[in-house]
Subunit: 208 residues, 2 copies
């Protein structure tokens, strides 16, 4: 039952954001009583914390799988963005914003994940790309890995990219391709040109 | 006297941020009494509003001068960043952050300037670059002009780029060069390669 509650909450948060989902909604979704939920969890925030931990675990696993499949840092970055697209395509854009604004403890979990895992993973990607001569040697990996992660977060910010004007996944893909091109060396470009047509189709599909 | 007060306040804000500068400091700086200041301005916020309007006017003038000197959008973007470096090099990094946090009315003035002028200016630059074949035709100019202006703001954010770890001007220059490379077409690259050595030296000097 505990796992079913987390799974249901994840689905509901994903679709409707966090603020608008109540304990009643989760109970209804599972066809159980609210009391049953309260036997396992004291409140929505307790469920939210577990949902986020669960989602972070899933994303880490998927990223590790992709890293094994990618034959070089350029492919790795493109694969990661395809994964991001799949993960985010049906996510309600208010979710991250709800987190930041109304659930500081859960937001902190996400921030830790961002700092300890995502930034490190981008950082490693940049270092490896420089070593292989695919990225420019004169990029500052600390500055640019921070830029990349903040771009991902920025695309979710409705005060900067309001949903009525910007499609979030399209923005993310513009950011990714722009970021990648910005770090490529000449050798990297030659390689990128051989794979971009295939990948661009893959990445651009459904985006706008 | 009114102009002298604005000029003194601008210098003090620039050097020490806004929060820590008092009416007493401004009076001392000018060797006048605080009462003289109050004859002209009701409080620090009134001075601040004028300081910002004045600074925006100066920056607009300088940008327009540069735009006339630049022979193409790539040069224009590089000139603008050299100007930014000169303007910001002795600015206290807390200034923008002080504004946002403690002076919402003045922050609003800056936000308007950002939206009505800076974003439009980047937008025009991108359109012109695409028309001349120097930038890729597949960039989304709305998305990327927003990205560029938010990057400039982001480099000031001490929660993302703490001053003990990052040099603000170095971060800005990494952002600029990365942004520019990210939008270049192949033709743009060929041109960029002919000017970058000169410009890179110019841009990188004193940066770290």
């Amino acid at each position: 039952m505990k796992e079913r509650i987390i799974k249901s909450a994840l689905n509901l948060f994903w679709r409707y954001g966090i603020k608008s989902v109540t304990m009643d909604d989760i109970a209804k979704d599972l066809g159980i009583s609210k009391r049953t939920i309260y036997q396992h969890y004291s409140d929505k925030e307790a469920i939210l914390a577990l949902v986020i931990q669960e989602e972070i675990k899933t994303q880490k696993n998927e990223m590790e799988k992709l890293d094994e499949q990618a034959s070089n840092p350029i492919e790795q970055m493109m694969y990661a963005s395809v994964q991001m697209r799949d993960t985010l395509s049906n996510m309600n854009p208010t979710l991250l914003y709800d987190l930041k604004k109304y659930y500081p403890a859960a937001w902190e979990l996400f921030q830790n994940y961002k700092h300890e895992y995502i930034i490190k993973s981008i950082h490693d990607n940049l270092i490896k790309g420089i070593e292989l001569g695919l990225y420019r040697p004169d990029i500052d990996v600390d500055v640019l890995s921070m830029l990349r992660v903040e771009q991902i977060v920025m695309a979710f910010d409705p005060t900067i990219f309001p949903a009525r004007k910007f499609n979030m996944m399209h923005t993310q893909m513009q950011f990714l391709l722009h970021f990648l091109r910005g770090v490529l060396s000449e050798k990297g470009f030659e390689y990128y040109n051989t794979i971009k047509d295939k990948s661009a189709i893959e990445i651009n599909t459904h985006e706008k």
